[in-house]
Symmetry: C2
Subunit: 313 residues, 2 copies
């Protein structure tokens, strides 16, 4: 049996191998993705983001357990942007995976591959395609919100929960519009700590001040204490409400359409990178151009233009 | 007089306008860059990176003052990756610029533009080209090392100083090879605080263990207290030593060649993005493709492939 056949039969090790194959951009990985895509259904993609130490992993574990109990099949993908200053440990210690089922109804994958083929956001998106094709109902996508790249990732989700903690209080006021734009739900975790009321009222104040969104969704502020599972039920309810609202208003399809457009363009850019830019790098043309630039005969902008013309002729 | 003529005459406001022009990708910005490049000399580019709160801004200010006193013309560019969780304030409060000369020998620019044309690293690199063409001898490039993008930026420098503080002690052990790869100099700032000796010896230990680098440069560990300018002279000496070593060993030119190659490829990728991808986005082809994908007639990978073939025919 081929790996793909075993994948179709629900073999979790085949899933793992397929993901590695795609992630590392091994030969034929685009064909594999193409074939997986035929099986893509309507698995829900839920993004969880927030600053380091907000308790995102614990929340994700709680949600995964609840979903599994309800009979769902759940895939988790955690994106760890390998900051060299933290040794890639921004996500913190993950609760052991040993209490999760190994019967094919659950899978966890951590994305830390710096050199992921086609970029981290794209590689993560490909994992959600594999999860969907494998038959998972829900994908939980966890990422640390430390940079634009990490936020691009939640851009491929159906619902995004932004997690903050009372300690983030001072910074909430200075939060940029970008965060408001990605949040469908605010979750104040560790809400038994001092400062919780303050951050909740600040968030509500901010939400009141924003101009009414196109999709008419009113962003809820949910309070949780993930370590004792308090409020996780309410978080799940908020997620379900958002899903229902998006479906009824037609914005679910709208968002998916936007994501598909984005994916097409990413595929296109990656082909350009792999088949033109990378090959150029291997040829001698670039070295000659550098010589001429150093001799002041031309400059990188002219050279880039000329190479582009050669390509698009 | 045109802006470019005023730029050539050393008018600092013209410099500011030219940079904005390039940064925002306004009409003809590539021509402007092309013309600036003719004037590019051998301005030294010095990168300063490290975790938030390491005192990078203070260090950069100290270095700038020293260089100015020696008669150099100095440009500073600070990259602030606008994390939505910190409101783009990762760089912290900057010491007021009011004690810097306004006679055209100094300029400071902060890059926080999320939508910078062609990416943040590219936009920053373009600023260094403008500085060089303007006649600055030294460009100080300051960035927070929180993600890969921020590190790509220091990749375009001649010398990179990585700043750490005693508080980073625990994380140094888990620092990934990536940091070792970019550092030409380690600077332990706030070295009057407890834990300084420990982090210095840990760094030295790490440096001993690494395999001998191609350029045979032995990375020094310098201790500073930037707020009282202690050790800044030693840091400057280390920078000069590195510059001399690179020149003698031929690695200065090697690095510059690598950077020019990188720049050519970035220009090429940006043209592809601006002239093919962006135009495609505006046309109806994508919408039709999305319809077909939703109807399961095709998938994003096939569509991307077809579009690519159309382009590269």
């Amino acid at each position: 049996m081929t790996v793909l056949e075993r994948f179709y039969e629900g073999d979790i090790r085949a899933l793992s191998r397929i993901i590695s194959h795609i992630e590392n951009g091994r030969e034929g990985y685009r064909d594999v993705l193409s074939r997986l895509y035929d099986r893509v259904g309507s698995s829900l993609r839920l993004g969880i983001t927030g600053p380091p130490g907000a308790g995102k992993s614990t929340l994700v574990n709680c949600l995964a357990h609840r979903l599994l109990k309800q009979g769902h099949k759940v895939g988790v993908v955690a994106v760890d942007p390998t900051s060299p200053f933290t040794g890639g440990a921004l996500l913190g210690d993950r609760v052991r995976m040993s209490d999760f089922p190994t019967d094919g109804s659950f899978y966890f994958r951590s994305m830390a591959t710096r050199g992921a083929s086609g970029g981290l956001a794209n590689a993560t998106d490909n994992v959600t395609i594999a999860y969907d094709a494998f038959g998972f109902d829900v994908t939980l996508l966890e990422t640390v919100g430390v940079g634009q790249v990490e936020l691009d990732i939640v851009d491929s989700c159906d619902t995004v929960a932004v997690v903050v903690v009372p300690e983030s209080g001072d910074s909430v006021q200075t939060m940029k519009a970008g965060l408001m734009e990605i949040a469908d739900i605010f979750c104040v975790n560790k809400s038994d700590r001092p400062g919780a009321e303050r951050i909740i009222s600040e968030l509500r104040q901010m939400l009141k001040m924003r101009k009414p969104p196109e999709d008419k969704w009113s962003i809820p502020v949910v309070r949780t204490v993930a370590t004792s599972t308090d409020g996780v039920e309410e978080l799940e309810e908020a997620i379900n409400k958002h899903r229902a609202h998006m479906g009824e208003s037609g914005f679910f399809e709208k968002r998916r359409r936007y994501q598909i457009r984005k994916k097409i363009l990413t595929v296109l850019r990656n082909r350009f990178q792999n088949e033109f830019v990378d090959r150029l790098r291997e040829q001698g043309d670039l070295d000659q151009a550098v010589d001429e630039i150093l001799a002041k005969k031309t400059n990188p902008f002219e050279v880039g233009d000329n190479l582009y013309r050669r390509f698009s002729a």
